[in-house]
Every structure is written in structure tokens, then in C-alpha cells.
Amino acid sequence: MKLEMRGLTRRFGSFTANDHIDLTIEPGEIHCLLGENGAGKSTLMNMLYGLLEPTEGEILVDGEPADFDTPGDAIAAGIGMVHQHFMLVPVFTVAENVMLGREQTRGLGILDRGKAAELVRELSTRYKLAVDPTALVENLPVGVQQRVEIIKALANEAKVLILDEPTAVLTPQEIDELMDIMRALKKQGTSIVFITHKLREVKAVGDKITVIRRGKVVGTASPDAPEAELAEMMVGRAVNLTVGKEPPKVGKPVLEVNGVTVVDDRGTTVVRDVSFDARGGEVLGIAGVQGNGQTELIKSLLGIIRPDAGKVLLEGQDISRHGPKDSLEAGIGYIPEDRAHDGYVSSFSVRENLVLDLYRRNDFSRGAALKLDAIEKNAKARIEEFDIRTENMNSSLASLSGGNQQKVVVAREFSRPLKVLIASQPTRGVDVGSIEFIHKRIIEERDRGTAVIIVSTELDEIYALSDRIAVMYDGRIVGTVTPDIPREQIGLLMAGAHDGHETQAHETQGGAA
């Protein structure tokens, strides 16, 4: 199926989200749609999927004009969409989710689950999408849930599959698996529209690349174009993809972690006897596949979770029994992993979010009264300093793009003197331009003598920032290495396939760095 968009335009009031976009998806190609956050990729796809009505322009399916008023029309025309936030019923099985909306019955209204399971099995073998049709969706890892979404679309006989930032929620392994699935789909003749802002992925699977900036198509490129060129097209200016940094001036250990163990609510030990030092003027990267205890480890460092055993010493003082309030006041800066959940209050204004953990300080309150002037002045300064793109300081965080939301969190944490900075996934879901900026600030903070701890599942980020890398697997630190070792070795450590001797060797090496 050939899908064409001609002069597609969508305006919201005076704002033009998509401006005369022309795009052709040939049968059996993986077409990458590359663009920064807020460039208008999602608006375009929502028009294609019948969720938004175009202001101007038309959509053609195999040369015939098509009119999609509802997603139902789009599905009937052979368009399938996998949203970034999955539309699955958690308490249903895979087969039930796939049959949802097109239930087949065996007379008398009895659901034919067997047939649905059969369909799932057939699709999963044909496209190499390993899924158990009888598993409950809520018990499946994110990567597998995504496969269920893809199967759902294929069950509707989708010829064009739209994947909206499918890799944002996946681990590196899951991303590789998804790439394989995409290639298999392509081989079977399904076209894929792959929305992303990650250059590496585009280069890995893309056949054709269309770059969108500020609602306009700014150009097309082939996947063998250099990354720097793609980044420049996307952002509209030259982007420095490597972080410029001097060798670290490593100081004394500031944060010492001794034998920290965390048992979660279900009684599983998620952090096992973890010990390390974070030293002033140095970036310690904690690498690992999502779900290997990093989340709980850093929460226990700030005191959001109290460790079940072990100590966290900040300049020699045990802070593991303190709550986040005392730890923040003692000089720990904290950028949480899931910013929407832990980092900001989406209904609060930019101004309020910029003091979310600072309002207690004398700078921003006198007794019980907030100093509104000071809060306003602070907001003005931070918006300027961090180039936060917002209508004004009173706009709610919900109205900002992901990158700017993250900048608000980063700006807040950087606006007081820090001894330790703990940043988890500091650039997840953030566009290239903002990544560059945030990385630069982190290195500046390091050079000021702060001990920096970066947790990331993206090896690129770990390599770009770290002076020392600790790898976590199954709740333990399985090795501490320097960033000059090859990716494959870290990959092996992350996968848990390490060998005691080798690790030991690297540890000494790391210690000497």
C-alpha cells in the first residue's frame, strides 16, 4: 500500500503545527520521521490516524483520496498505530487484548478465545514476535507489551504501521529486538513509519529519512548520512554530539555508600550489598539494563527509600536514616528517573516548579509566607539561563515539551550549591539540542567540584559523561570500569555474563583513574 500526504496542514488557533507537509510512504519501506520534541511529528501522525482533522491538504491511499474521520476509518484503510502509551487492558490476556473490539463468538455470545489465541500464535510466528497469548498483559515487560500492540495492529491487517517513539520506553536489548521485528515486518511487505529523535536507530533500520522542524519538512536524507548532518537538519544549527570535557580533577570521596541493601514491598531484594564512593570533581556513571536495582539504589541515596541495610555517608555523616528533605538540604541535587512522576507537578506553573524543593529556604519564604517576588525573580533568571521555552513563567508544566520540562527540573536542581548531584536518565526523551545543553551543565557542575552520579540505560550517555563506570546487574555492582574499555565488554557486564577475575582487574584500573 502506498500512502501519500499532500500539503497536509494543521493549525491550532494561530499556531501552525504542520505546515504543508508532503510525505510518501512506499510499500515495504521503513520511513523514519525525525524531529525534535514539538516539531509536529505526532500531530502529523494523529491526522493520518483520524484523530485530528487536517486544516488543509489531503491523504491518498494508493493514489485515491481518503478521508479519515475516526481511527476506525484509518484502521479500515490498513493503517495501524502503536502509541507511545500503550492502549492495552492490563488485566486481560494477550489474546483478549488482541480480540478487543472485534470479538469473535461461538454463537450465544460466548467469546471464542481459542480462535483469538490461534490468531496471535499465527501472527507471532509469521513475524517473529514471541508472545504468549495466554499471558496477562500486566505481567509482561514493556517490550513485550509493545509487541502485543504491534500484533493488535497486524490483526487488523495493517499495511502501514506507525510506531510513535517506540524506543523511548525500551531497554537497549529490547530496542535491538524491536529492530529485528521491524526488519521482519518489512520483509513481509508492511511499511513502517518510525517516529523518533534518536539518530542511531534511524541509521540502523531506516530506508528513508524525512526530517521535520517546526512543522515543516526541512529535508530528506538517506540513512548513511553522517549523524552530525542529521542532527543539524533536525535542530537547525550545528550540534556538538560529543561532550567537550577536560580530564577530571578528582577530589576526596564526598558520598560513600557502604553495603546498601534494599528489599522492596514484595520482599524481593532489589539492591544487594552495594558499595561505592562518589568523589568530588568526577562523574560516576551507573550503567545497567532497566530494572536491575538502579532506581531503588538512587532513591535510597536521597532517602526516599530507607535502605534495609548499609550506610550512606555524606562527608562522613550517615544520611541513610534522613528523609529526602534533610538530604536535599545537606546539598544533594536529584534529577529523578521519571520526571513526570517524581520530578515536577504538571499542573503547577513553571515558576512554582522551579522552587518545588527550594521553597523552604530563606530565599523563597519568610516564616510561613512565600516570598512571591523572590520566586518570580528566580523563575525569570532560570528561564533565561536554561533557555526554557515557555509562553511565560505562569504556564503549567503540562503545556511544555518534554525537553523543556526536563530543563525545568535540571534548572531547579542546579540553582543551589551542591555537594553531590544524582541524575537519573537526565536526557531521556529530550531532544538533541537540549541533550547537548544538559550534558554541558552536568560537566560544569563536575568541574565545580561536585560529585556527580549519572544513572542511565543508554550507553552513549554513560560514555559521553562518565569518568568511571559502575555496572549494575541484578541489584549488585558487578564491575567498575573506565570509559576507555570497549562497549561490548560493558554490554557483557550489563547482561550479567561477567567473569570474576576480569572484573577485578578492571576495578583496580578504575580505582587508579
Partner: protein, 401 residues
């Protein structure tokens, strides 16, 4: 249990839903109407109320019998009935100083209790317990009011403080249960309503609370020294209701505690990460909500000089929830909502007296307003207002889309 066991919805809201200025983070916020739907609900309720007036007036029904031969009569009588009814409603609520007094006195407890519900709401708590908190306050106000003998002024102060404290304790219990055990405040406040009601019935059976020479479950009225002085026929306690609104506004919008309450209400997890004490905030919010309900009881016992009966709170505690929702859980909102409901209740009496409209109509109007406010989609459907952007369609959005 880990130390910060924040109860939260299974999934955080999608990071982006542009164009929505509503407090989408607050898990109860979905129940809040917009200003447009609120006004529309009131207008629609009045329209349906008009129909009810028309079809409950005997003369109009009579005229229907010869509608096809002389339809003018029907329209004339219907018009007169609606005009009479609604002019009586307006006159009875704001038409004279006398009716304004009554409106204000009826609005005062609604405003106070409504503020309490609002405050809890902003902290992410659905306080169904204003009724019970009022009863607890009423018991304390009544007891101090009729049992002791203090000089005027001091007596009033002590009785009022007792009532506010009792309300705070009653609300605080629910807050403490939530903070310490995670017990859902909706369940615990409903249960505490029953406890307060039966406590009142129990106490009224005791000699200590029983009015001498009375067989009813009725307490003595509060002593003169414990009641608010009247100025121009209105008890001065009414002023306190407005002061309370000002206080709640300052607390929520200008103080660090209010900042914490709003943050905890909108995103408990982010609040905890920012070092706020989520559990303590829950407790404090419920205690303050209870204190405001206690103040509502002050309005009734020490202002309107009601004696304690098991129905002393009427339905004020429940109407307060409506007033708060109608007022969109803001600070000014419950004041306006309380005044509207006070006016409806005061005007309802006049409607019966002057236009022969059943007094229940005022309650029907209140109920209709609530119904329409609770069903914004219905209002939009009736008014053919296009659901601009605040419909339920979940658009696909990237992290930054």
C-alpha cells in the same frame, strides 16, 4: 511498609496534554466543572425548574384542557406562574434586607464547610465527612454554650474554639488514618459521619445535654453570652465565614504549607521527592478541613442560636461537597456557591409563601444544578457546545510531541 508509601494512580498522567489548564495531576480534578459548564448548569436548572413550576400550577393544568381552542390561556398562565415563582425566589433571597439577612445566614455555614471540602480537595483528598465534622463541632459548641457560664465575649470565644477544635479532631482522625494506615478518606469520613450522628443521639439522651422539661431529643439553646451579637439583624458570625475564605486563600496561595498541600494534592510522588512530608500534609489538610466544618457548626449554634438536635446540621455537610465542586475547589468558588445555595434555600421559602410553589422546588433546583455540573457532557450536548480540546480523545503524543 516503606517510609514514604505514596498512594498513587497506577500510571502517571501522560506528560503532555496541551491546552489543558486544568489540574490534571490531581486525581479528583476530573470531577471539577469548568466555569462555563457551571454557569450553563445553573441556567439549565432554572429552565427545567420553570417547566416544573408550569406543570405544578393547577391553573395552567386546567388551561391545557382547552389548549387547542384557546391556547393563549396556557401560555399566559404558564408565563405568570414562572414569573411569579422566580420573582418570589429573587425577592425572597435578595429582594429585601430581611431576605438578604436570611440568605447570608444560610450561606455562612455552607461557605465554611464548603471551604473545608475545597481545602481537602486541593490536597488530593475527597472529604465526605463535613457532616460528621460539623456534628462534632456542634456538640462542642452547644455544650460549652449552654453548660458553662462565662462573661460574654469570652464565652463566645471559648465555645467557638471548642467547636473548631472538635471539628479538627474529627477531620484529623480521618487524616491520621490515611497517613498512618493508608485507609481511604472517602470510606473513613463516611463512617465517621455515622459515628458523629450516633454520638449526638447518645448525648442528647443524657441528662447533661437534655433540655429540662422536654421530652424531645433537644438540648438547651446556647446562653446569650455565647452567641454572636446581631448587627442590622445579621449575626456577626457571618463575617467570620468571609474571613475564613480569606484565610484559606492566603494559606493555599501564599504560604509554604499551602504550597505543600497543593503539590501533594497534584502529585504526591513529586512532592515526596521534593522533600515534603506527604503523610503529615494529609493529616493537616483533613484537620483543617474539619476545623472549617467546625466553624460551620459555630455559624449554626452560636450564630443562628440553634439548639442541638440530631438534625442540627441539616444537610449542610453534604451540600458543602456540592458547593465545593460547584466552586471548582478554588477559594472564591465555595463563597459564591454557598451564597447561591443560601439564596436558593432562602428564596425557596418565599416562593412557597408568595407564589404557592412547593418549597421542595428550591431543593429540586439545587439537585438539578448538581446533576448538570456532574454531567458536563450532558450540558454540552444540550447547549451544542463543541467539546473543544477537553474531550476524552487521547492523542498520541511523543515525549515532547
Amino acid at each position: 511498609m516503606s517510609d514514604v508509601s505514596v498512594q498513587e494512580p497506577a500510571k502517571s498522567p501522560p506528560p503532555e496534554r496541551k491546552g489543558e489548564a486544568r489540574e490534571e495531576g490531581n486525581r479528583w480534578a476530573a470531577y471539577l466543572p469548568t466555569i462555563k459548564t457551571t454557569v450553563a448548569a445553573v441556567v439549565l436548572a432554572l429552565l427545567i425548574g420553570a417547566l416544573l413550576i408550569i406543570f405544578s400550577t393547577p391553573r395552567v393544568i386546567e388551561s391545557l384542557k382547552y389548549f387547542f381552542s384557546y391556547p393563549w390561556d396556557f401560555f399566559k398562565f404558564a408565563g405568570i406562574a414562572v414569573w411569579d415563582g422566580y420573582t418570589a425566589l429573587v425577592k425572597g433571597s435578595v429582594g429585601s434586607w430581611n431576605s438578604i439577612e436570611r440568605t447570608l445566614e444560610r450561606a455562612a455555614p455552607l461557605i465554611c464547610a464548603g471551604l473545608g471540602v475545597s481545602l481537602a480537595f486541593r490536597s488530593g483528598l475527597f472529604n465526605i465527612g463535613a457532616q460528621g465534622q460539623m456534628l462534632a463541632g456542634a456538640i462542642a459548641a452547644g455544650y460549652v454554650g449552654f453548660h458553662f457560664d462565662f462573661p460574654p465575649g469570652l464565652h463566645l470565644l471559648l465555645a467557638a474554639v471548642a467547636a473548631i477544635a472538635a471539628g479538627a479532631v474529627w477531620g484529623g482522625i480521618a487524616g491520621w488514618l490515611k497517613a498512618a494506615t493508608g485507609a481511604h478518606e472517602v470510606i473513613s469520613t463516611i463512617m465517621l459521619n455515622y459515628v458523629a450522628r450516633f454520638l449526638m443521639i447518645y448525648l442528647l439522651g443524657k441528662e447533661l445535654f437534655q433540655r429540662p422539661n422536654s421530652n424531645d431529643r433537644l438540648s438547651p439553646p446556647p446562653a446569650e453570652s455565647a452567641t454572636f451579637p446581631q448587627v442590622f439583624g445579621v449575626h456577626t458570625g457571618v463575617l467570620l465565614a468571609f474571613l475564613a475564605a480569606l484565610g484559606v486563600w492566603w494559606l493555599l496561595e501564599r504560604s509554604t504549607t499551602g504550597f505543600e498541600m497543593r503539590a501533594v494534592g497534584a502529585n504526591p510522588s513529586a512532592a515526596a521527592t521534593a522533600g515534603m512530608h506527604v503523610q503529615r500534609t494529609y493529616f493537616l489538610a483533613m484537620a483543617l478541613a474539619g476545623a472549617l466544618a467546625g466553624l460551620a457548626a459555630v455559624m449554626q449554634i452560636l450564630g443562628q442560636q440553634d439548639s442541638l438536635t440530631e438534625n442540627v446540621a441539616g444537610t449542610v455537610g453534604f451540600d458543602a461537597i456540592t458547593v465545593a465542586l460547584l466552586g471548582r475547589a478554588t477559594t472564591l468558588g465555595p463563597v459564591l456557591g454557598g451564597l447561591l445555595f443560601g439564596a436558593l434555600s432562602s428564596g425557596g421559602l418565599a416562593m412557597q409563601a408568595a407564589a404557592g410553589v412547593p418549597p421542595e422546588l428550591a431543593q429540586v433546583l439545587q439537585a438539578l444544578i448538581v446533576l448538570f455540573v456532574a454531567a458536563p457532557a450532558l450540558v454540552r450536548g444540550v447547549l451544542r457546545v463543541k467539546a473543544e480540546g477537553d474531550g476524552g480523545t487521547v492523542l498520541a503524543k511523543g515525549w515532547g510531541g
